[in-house]
Amino acid sequence: MNLLEVRDLKTQFFTADGIVRAVDGISFDLAAGETLGVVGESGCGKSVTALSILRLIAPETGRIVAGSIRFDGHDLTTLSNEEMRTLRGHKIAMIFQEPMTSLNPVLTIGTQIAESVVRHMGLTWHAARERAREMLELVRIAEPRRRLEEYPHQLSGGMRQRVMIAIALCCNPQVLIADEPTTALDVTIQAQILDLMLELKERLGTAIILITHDLGVVAETCERVIVMYAGRMVEEAPAASLFARPRHPYTRGLLRALPRVDAEGETGSGRPRLEEIPGLVPALTRPIAGCAFGPRCGFAVERCHTQPPVLSETAPAHRVACWEAGRVAEAAA
């Protein structure tokens, strides 16, 4: 049973330089209680996809131009603004990248958590503060009663992200969208926050969409992964399958650009040089004729530059958008 079904989502921004096709036809499903990773480099449309699901794209600059987002029997693209507002933070919650600036500096932690509880669960302020205390305990903040009265600047980055998680989960959402939740934190705190998110997911049954550019984070936490490039999906696979046998040249390039501790050099002396992906991400203002990755791809053939590849299942639950997927898989083996 799918909780969230995104079909052919297209989000565009209207700038002075032309239309930016930030998300260009994305389709995916999210099952209840699942952890889905969305990876790709900066500007590939990961965050815009997340913002589109919550309809948080500023109407002055951009718009969802096509596609549907089905959640809980409704198409989110057609809901009224008021209906969207009751859904946000209640059924679908979001955590942002910047824990240092995502909390209002002039409000206490307690107020910021309780506000959401009052808004969505209709509790009294008193009961909501009690709930806020429980949530702080749940995200393992010591002395929750004292912390409720504190302001964000009195908390460290890791604690602020815990508070953000507490706010996001206080109304028992069905879906939690985490947009680079650990990028701004240092590595030890990253691991703690990820563990916390996974533990709470198990406990509360929340499905998570984890947006990141860090493949290590994906490998540790996600069950299924979507790889995005230039606003399009290039590969979708169970995490194990993706890391073991990437079918798309871009995914392959990403994985080979990761430093590995266990890899031995081919000559036996030291580790191999890290590979890079040559070239640059294409400008999203111009329509791309063939495969978006074509110009940077070592496997590209004539067809790649003229015909956009379609996502097709090459292995069980493993879908890839590449004309030469077979050759890529062979090369990887």
Partner: protein, 293 residues
Amino acid sequence: MTLAAAADAALPPIASPLAKAAAAVRRNPTIFIGAALLTALVAMTLAAPWIAADPFRQAPINRLRPPSEPFWFGTDQFGRDVFARTVHGARVSLIVGLSVATISSLIGLAVGLVCGYFKRIDGIVMRVMDGIMSIPSILLAIALITLTRPGLGIVIVAIVIPEVPRIVRVVRSVVLSIRDQPYIESAIAGGTRNTKLLLRHVLPNTLAPLIVQATYVCASAMLIEAGLSFLGAGVPPEIPSWGNIIAQGRTFFQIAPWSIFIPGAFLAATVLAVNMLGDGLRDRLDPRLARRM
């Protein structure tokens, strides 16, 4: 020794309230000088009936007396006590300064919040504000007062109108910078309604710069009031206000300069005190603001 006692011993001794106050003064003396001057002035105004003689009592026999034992600040051409008139005149300046600052802050805050937050209204309202700003405030006041009966109320209205756009601009620019902050985005992502978002998340963040701007408006309102009274377009001439006292002493300036200089010095000191308070508050409040941004 228990662990708790050891921890207590390690803590620095708690500073006495007096030492804390002294430290605060040393860190930011302008606030305290400004506040002390203003407090003295307010106290003087409140105590006026007891410390000063009747400001209206004329005594032609004592006219144009220089400052002396019975008349600290001398007398004017009607033999009225300049000290009594100056002390009572402070009342007008303070009332005008405070009410203009309060009223224009409230109006400016409301308009600025809406303008900064709702882009559709912004263009229209800001052009209206530009229009108001282009009217010279003295001319507007003179026009308003000739249209109605002169009085304290109309003076306040006449000064509020041109001061509102100054507040609106400050509030609007702060709102514009706050609405792009991640915490506003995350509040929206949490399903917060527009009114709540404005009142609970945006409004408190605008207060610090608003308070600072309000002190400047207060000082400038006092100056404009004195200017209007001097021109005969302010509070009615029978009410002692610093502007009126100066205007009436003008003709005898060469033989009785004290009736001009003393209210003038009080006006200057008051405006200076308010501005110092504003500057001090800006230094005190802005670093926190800068850290936030």
